[in-house]
Amino acid sequence: MPALPRPTLRRVAHRIADEDASRPLWRHPATIAAAALALTLGAVPLLPDGGADDRGEIAPSAESTAESTAESTAAPAAVGSGEVTRAMRAEIDRVVAEGAALDRAQGRPALARASVRCATFEGQRYCLGFGWTNQSEEALAARLTTRPTSRATERTGDLDADGLLARAESRTSTARTAAERAELTMAARSVGKVWMLRHEIQGVPLPEGFAARHPEVTARTDARGGFGESYPERSKILSSKVAQAQNNTYWCGPTAMQAIGWGSQGRRKNQSYWARRLGTTTAGTAITDVVRVVNNKTDYDEPTHAGPYVVVDISDFTFKQWYRMVMRHVHDYQAPVVLHPSLLKQYYPYLDDDASGHFQVGRGFDRNPGGNPQLGYFEPWDQSRFDPSEPAIGRVQWRNAYRSFRANLAHFQHNIGV
């Protein structure tokens, strides 16, 4: 894979006044809402991640250093990014062009159908906003239209169906085209990894000629095939110090990204920094943006770790497959997982209220042979910062992994960033 240019270090001089500042314990929601509005006005524009990203290419950031986390080890090489073929470019052009339908879409069902558009790259389907999936466009559009927008009142910062549709509707044609082309290009370059993931995790046979077409990934085909039994009983990455509480009710994405970026770069950047890179608004953050920023601002996307991160629909995964994916990431790739659960009390029984879709950072597993498999993760949501009905709990947690799998499945997008 050719070495891609790395943009120069960009420093954000502006620092939002209350970022990372200590806060009073009980904050009234009205205060939070007012602050949210003010911050949104200043931070909504989607900032470019760097020169390469501006061109729709995937490039590690200059801020991706060779520093590794204190707990990381020399992981086996993972997969790299592939080339965008002529056929892929044509497919990208087709899907982007179909976005013009959004300008004419009237009503939620029409908007959903126009916004969920899928490209097929080498037999794998990528759908805008949802990631790699085996679901049809119609099925995904139905998730936007027929599923309840939110069972929960409490919102932690994941972009829900309403937010996705509002964003699709509000973008100018130029902005939409640029964003979709970048998203699809990133996807196209990751198709080798997706095939490998389907092969290794789900047992899907590789297509004829795959090795020749994807030298960036085939060097790894026999690296580890006996998932589960060949893994240690437990493994974890990332220092606990990177687990912070989100400073705004809608900043679970930036806070998860803060932990991931901190783990990669070895130094902390403010949540507002990550909010700008993610394009976070008061409506929240999209998982496709989290994956984009992981790829552009950390070294976890490099072949020494996980290769390019992708958003994968896990609705056809079994729990065992889902857990294997976590183990592979944590132990083999020494790279975190972007967890995307629905934060409901039935899955997180210590919560006082149901909450929205959410982001967490998956960073460990404990196969716990005498009990049930455990998942280690960082929890950005600290309800006690915003509500006097919940005590503070630790940001570093371990739990019954099956609960997290079901919480992931309960999310209307059913996807994860790996």
């Binding site: 314990l25 009980w26 009234h28 929601p29 009205a30 809402a33 599923r147 309840p148 927008t149 939110s150 069972r151 929960a152 009142t153 409490e154 079994t318 729990f319 409901l344 009390k345 039935q346 997180y348 029984p349 210590y350 919560l351 006082d352 209220d353 149901d354 042979p369 005498g370 009990g371 049930n372 498999p373 006690s384 509500d387 006097p388 009905s389 919940e390 005590p391 503070a392 709990i393 630790g394 940001r395 570093v396 947690q397 371990w398 739990r399 019954n400 099956y402 609960r403 799998f405 079901r406 309960a410």
Partner: protein, 371 residues
């Protein structure tokens, strides 16, 4: 004001035991504490098993006594509460709740900008809480008299948005904001629509985990310690003031529910395993170790207190545990799935339990009468 001042002093005393304490070490075992339950006033009944001391509680070995569970016919992830006669069913989006019994029906719609956040039921009343999605306006409380199906509201004191709620017989306990924005516990007598605020959490503290039964009202109070709050479990005294339970290790408690002769509580010994609790019971000044359970799942129902236990091994089911007035620990439910399985928080409606069960072999949503 006198009530609040007294309550404040009481809680300060309770929290003083936590002040300055470090985050509990994940490996710490529960330490010794006071030797009797604060709420236990009756003499021990001689024909009941006696527990041990706080430091050496008697281990309650569970026996299987599965209830007669019946399928609700409702998906596990849909809010549903069954009572002796009535049942309440929310739509998947929590925009409305339909209540029905033989020949009677009532509906509560969340309304624009609101969602259904709580559905509570006793033998005589149903309560549906409509929460402001923006969490700026007070929650609205709709009540249904289950004798007549007539609907009403609870408007005073206004309910805080969110928080913990509990209903027993005709008394509704819920959070409200008092003078100066204090977070207070309100009680409403539904029969006469008479609500009043009572005890208020002192500054820089709060409460949650309300449970209520004929034996009393339990709640967890906590301070603003970081990274983990210092938590104390309490039962309300006759004056409506929380009295800390004697027995729990300082700062580690979570669940609490009153029983006829004491209380059931849980402790979270490892802050990084927030969902893994150890349950205990106090009974007439003696103590029982009820074993592992899931944080936040203790529910009084009928004559017993129930809590959820995750599978304890790859071949073990998730279980619903029952602490009975006879001081026995029973397995009231076992999930069809083993290993990868868990149970939702049980809901009690006038002596009827509703339970959602999740697992690899399939989910189920069931109900059973406790008594």
């Amino acid at each position: 004001m006198l009530v609040r001042t007294t309550a404040g002093l009481a809680l300060l005393l309770a929290l003083a035991g936590c002040a300055g304490g470090d985050e509990p070490d994940p490996g710490d075992e529960p330490g010794d504490g006071p030797s009797r339950a604060a709420t236990s006033t009756d003499e021990p009944t001689t024909d009941l098993p006696s527990g041990g001391t706080v430091g050496d509680p008697a281990v309650a070995e569970p026996v299987t006594a599965v209830l007669q569970w019946q399928d609700t016919g409702v998906p596990a992830d849909v809010r549903y509460v069954k009572g002796p006669r009535w049942e309440a069913l929310a739509d998947p989006g929590n925009t409305r709740v339909d209540l029905q019994a033989d020949g009677m029906a009532a509906s509560v719609v969340a309304g624009r900008g609101r969602t259904i956040s709580e559905v509570l039921m006793s033998e005589d009343w149903a309560v549906v809480v409509r929460q402001d999605k923006a969490e700026t306006a007070p929650s609205e409380v709709a009540v249904v008299d289950l004798a007549s199906g007539a609907k009403g509201t609870v408007t005073t004191p206004p309910a805080a948005s969110g928080g913990s709620w509990a209903l027993t017989a005709g008394d509704l306990h819920y959070p409200t904001y008092g003078d100066g924005g204090a977070y207070c516990l309100a009680t409403a007598a539904l029969a006469d629509s008479n609500g009043e605020d009572g005890w208020c959490a002192p500054d820089r503290s709060g409460f949650s985990g309300l449970t209520a039964s004929e034996h009393g009202v339990g709640l967890m109070t906590f301070d603003d310690a970081r990274p983990v709050a210092c938590r104390t479990v309490n039962l309300l005294d006759a004056g409506g003031v929380p009295q800390p339970l004697e027995g729990p290790t300082d700062c580690t408690a979570w669940d609490v529910a009153a029983t006829a002769d004491g209380a059931v509580w849980s402790e979270v010994p490892k802050p990084r395993r927030q969902e893994e609790a150890r349950f205990h019971a106090a009974a007439d000044g003696t103590y029982f170790d009820l074993g592992p359970g899931t944080t936040g799942t203790a529910v009084p129902c009928g004559d017993s207190v129930f809590f959820v236990r995750d599978p304890q091994g790859p071949d073990e089911p998730a279980r619903l545990m029952r602490w009975t007035p006879e001081r026995t620990l029973e397995v009231a439910y076992e999930s069809p799935s083993t290993g990868n399985a868990f149970l939702g928080e049980p809901a009690c409606g006038g002596g009827v339990l509703t339970l959602a069960s999740y697992g690899e072999e399939g989910d189920e949503h069931v109900w059973a009468s406790v008594s």
